[in-house]
């Protein structure tokens, strides 16, 4: 079985989502600066013309039995100044997704807004009730993910049995409202891209130390597109500091790595960074660590195909990683 936990879908024009919003909001959005901004939000990481100017959308991966579709254009609301409009935009996107991207083998993620946890919780409950969705994509907000502020979202996702997906939108480290990158603002989009794993490390640290998994033990969280080779060293650091400073986070009742190894998954892309120098075999030496890594093609952007996974990990581990997504998408497999 192949589970592709990170495949990207897009609309070709924002006018495609207009029918899914109130007429007055549609009129508000019908302006060049918004409709024209699709070119900016569609290349995914804001590297000009890297993937061409037209919005890119990946057709379902033929070999995959189940696919999670991430509407990356909607994720860019983490860089919006108008958080009221952001919610209308995202809601319309979810309605479009329900009509156009749900199939027997693929399920889109419900996109929510970090700026409005209450609305997001309602949206999760409603869309999950309708069916067809496979996860909740929470764009990274300025407030770290471990904060109680997001509890309504985690509670709704837990109740709905849907995992939370964190995937960068491309505006992180660049636009206010989205989290910054360590050190400061980088000049180029590609330096930001190089450093995006920082956000996953930062978010995992926040989730672990602020006791989110103690509060929501059923919550499943997947980090998509951040790589994963850094995970073992991060876990070691989390545990080491917890052993000294446990009394500062007494709500973390077990070694923090235990929570991460139970509640967190990471997608493969870019797989190559973890396979050079035999790092995969050296660092991902336990079954538990290997179980955390799920195949995500990251298509249509530069990503990995199942054949790349086989080539880089060998048949046995590739089979494991290609199938690991079953832990995240049971909803999809039940539906099929």
């Amino acid at each position: 079985m192949i589970f592709d936990v990170d495949r990207h879908v897009a609309v070709q024009s924002y006018s495609e989502i207009f029918p899914f919003m109130e007429h007055s909001w549609q009129k508000h959005f019908e302006r060049k600066e918004f409709v024209g901004s699709i070119a900016e939000s569609s290349n995914h990481i804001r590297v000009s013309s890297r993937f061409g100017d037209a919005p890119e959308s990946a057709p379902a991966l033929v070999e995959a039995d189940h696919t999670l579709l991430v509407p990356h254009q909607a994720l860019t609301v983490n860089g919006w100044a108008d958080n009221v409009a952001a919610v209308v935009f995202v809601e319309a996107f979810n309605s479009f997704a329900a009509e156009n991207w749900v199939s027997e083998k693929s399920a889109p993620a419900i996109v929510v807004s970090a700026a409005d946890p209450e609305w997001s919780a309602r949206e999760i409950t409603r869309r999950a009730g309708d069916g067809g969705f496979g996860a909740v994509a929470l764009p990274l907000g300025a407030t770290l993910a471990g904060s109680k502020y997001y509890d309504p979202i985690y509670e709704a996702a837990s109740n709905a049995g849907l995992p939370i997906v964190f995937h960068f939108s491309g505006v992180e480290g660049f636009y206010d409202g989205a989290p910054g990158l360590g050190g400061g603002i980088h000049q180029t989009a590609f330096s930001r891209l190089v450093l995006l794993p920082q956000l996953a490390e930062s978010t995992i640290t926040s989730l672990a130390f602020e006791g989110v998994f103690e509060r929501f033990p059923q919550l499943r969280v997947v980090f998509s597109g951040f790589g994963f080779s850094w995970l073992p060293s991060l876990l070691w650091r989390l545990d080491r500091e917890w052993r000294t400073f446990r009394h500062d986070v007494p709500w973390v009742k077990r070694v923090p790595s235990e929570y991460v190894l139970e509640n967190v998954w990471l997608t493969t892309w870019p797989l190559q960074e973890a396979t050079m120098d035999d790092d995969w075999h050296r660092l991902f030496s336990t079954e538990t660590l290997r179980s955390r890594i799920v195949f995500g093609s990251h298509a249509p952007f530069d990503g990995d195909a199942p054949s790349d996974v086989v080539e880089q990990l060998g048949e046995t581990d590739a089979a494991l990683v290609l199938g690991n997504g079953a832990a995240l998408l049971p909803f999809v497999s039940v539906r099929a």
Partner: protein, 156 residues
Amino acid sequence: MTSERLGSTVTADAAAGAPGAVTPGVADDGFEYICELDELVPNKIRRSAVGGREIGVVRTVAGVFAIGSSCPHQGGPMCDGAIKGTMEPSDRNEYVFAQEGEVVTCPWHGYEFELKTGASVGGAILGRIGVYQVDVRGTAVFCSSKRIRPQRRRAE
């Protein structure tokens, strides 16, 4: 007070006794004389030689305790540790301070251990520090060199 940090002074104490000691030296039950109770400065771990091993004896608000001198983590000198309380496991964003005077932290990486059981607080590590029986007989403090064996289950 400075000599109190030296193991040799303690040996001399044990041999010569201290003024007012009930039974200096080794008692019939194998407990060894450490010092007078009022010689133990609160929360200051006194290095003592008991049965040939270095044991730290300390008086805190919670009682008198005796611990092994080596940290199970990387061998840090537990006799230089600090006496504290700790935060009990609690709900998110809540602090519940407890165990005042029942916890010692290692000076090297700050790991916390329970003075009563030697266990790592909150299960931070599997290893534990040695803990020994202490007995206050009259005005004198006695200590056994036999380690208190960890109980399998702690009574709630």
